[in-house]
């Protein structure tokens, strides 16, 4: 059901990872990909980064890892992850420990909570975004893990800097 794709480097998300050693431990088992013809219904958890090219209904919980919903991805589920990027369609709430980025091809209906929320020009969003002033972000994080893990949270960390995502070019909003 899950297609490992270790041969293909997962470069699109790499630039958003702070290089600090204090960041939460990252998966070393590569990237899990739900291919475009795959549909999953249920509760999805794991210990590695995930790319959704197919359909997911239920919930996705990868608190220490990154989730990318590619342009072809259709997710009808709440997502809780360290970092969430949406280039496809999501109907559900997004809880990002670090950040949530809706790419220019992305469409989201649901509520967002994250330290950093970025909406690229062209993205579609309907819902609510819970915000705290930037100076209060660490203190106000809802995540116990986030509060116990010293994060390298410089202004550049978490900002979308790569412009070569596989599903299309992107530009920071």
């Amino acid at each position: 059901m899950w297609k490992k794709n270790e041969a293909r480097p997962y470069t699109p998300l790499a630039p958003t990872q702070p290089t600090s050693v204090s960041q939460p431990e990252r998966s070393r088992s590569g990237l899990a990909t739900i291919g475009p013809s795959i549909t999953i219904k249920g509760e999805l958890t794991g210990q590695e980064d995930l790319e959704v090219q197919g359909k997911v209904e239920g919930s996705i919980t990868l608190k220490k890892h990154r989730v990318l919903v590619s342009e072809s991805g259709r997710v009808n589920a709440d997502i809780h992850a360290k970092s969430i990027r949406v280039g496809g369609e999501v109907k559900g709430n997004l809880l990002g420990e670090d950040e949530v980025i809706i790419l220019h091809t992305g469409r989201v209906e649901g509520d967002i909570k994250a330290s950093r929320v970025t909406l690229e020009d062209g993205s579609k969003f309907k819902g609510a975004i819970d915000m705290e002033p930037k100076g209060d972000q660490k203190e106000s994080s809802a995540s116990a893990e986030a509060s116990t893990t010293k994060k390298a949270q410089s202004p550049e960390n978490g900002r979308l800097t790569d412009t070569s995502l596989r599903h299309g070019s992107s530009s920071p909003a």
Binding site: E120, F125, K126, G127, D130, M131, P133, D136, A173
Partner: protein
């Protein structure tokens, strides 16, 4: 009131949409923002489409930003089977009470917030230019249900004869400046709602301040009483 405005020119829209700095000074915005985040988390309802710059701007406040993207949602509804009942004017409706109930149901679905939700600030941008009077009335009643004495509603009404065929994309550049961008080169007649009309349609809201800008937009700040 007839203004000689670049908004009447289709060419203006082409030019303005291509400009990088097509912003203007808003007289209402500073006062509206001053009310936010003083002692508690503010709730802001943006009736327009989501825009990254606006999200980024509000990230400096302790707030919850609700994005309704109302016009697009409304158009999507109208495209659905049966959705064309919404704009029916009273004289064409078989049963006006039924039509009114249907309009109310649609706006309830498009603005599906908890009954106890109260917004501090509602950003309507230029949406009112694109709604029929009966739709504004229904919208006003829906917004009133989420308002309290401190709620402010910010809207812009075009004073000229033509406007872009659909709402512009507005975004907050800074505490005094708004950027806008026409999303289409097509135009349509502007309804040019008057202040008495808006006061009548937006029941529960009073005009707290209004200002006609050089670009032909009239800014309104409505206060819920």
């Amino acid at each position: 009131m007839e203004l000689s405005s670049p908004w009447t020119s289709d060419q203006f829209w082409r030019e303005s949409s291509a400009r990088d700095d097509g912003g203007y000074h808003s007289f209402a915005l500073p006062g509206l923002l001053q009310r936010l985040g003083e002692d508690r988390k503010s709730r802001i309802l943006d009736l327009g489409p989501a825009h990254g710059a606006t999200v980024e701007f509000f990230s400096q406040y302790s707030c919850k930003l609700y994005v309704a993207d109302l016009y697009r949602s409304l158009m999507a509804h109208l495209a659905e089977p049966g959705g064309d009942r919404l704009p029916a004017p009273p004289e064409e409706a078989e049963d006006e009470a039924q039509a009114a109930a249907e309009r109310a149901r649609v706006f309830n679905e498009l603005l599906p917030y908890d009954d106890d939700t109260r917004f501090d600030l509602i950003l309507a941008w230029d949406l009112l230019n694109y709604l029929e009077p009966e739709q504004i009335g229904v919208l006003g009643r829906r917004l009133a249900s989420f308002s309290y004495g401190g709620t402010r509603l910010f809207a812009m009404v075009a004073m000229h004869r033509e406007i872009p065929a659909r709402p512009c994309a507005f975004r907050i550049r800074d505490a005094e400046t708004l950027d806008y961008e026409a999303l289409t080169q097509r135009t349509r007649p502007a309804p040019r709602h008057t202040e008495p009309t808006l006061r009548r349609l937006l029941s529960g809201f009073d005009v707290a301040s209004t200002c006609v800008l050089r670009n032909g937009l009239q800014e309104y700040v409505f206060a819920f009483r």
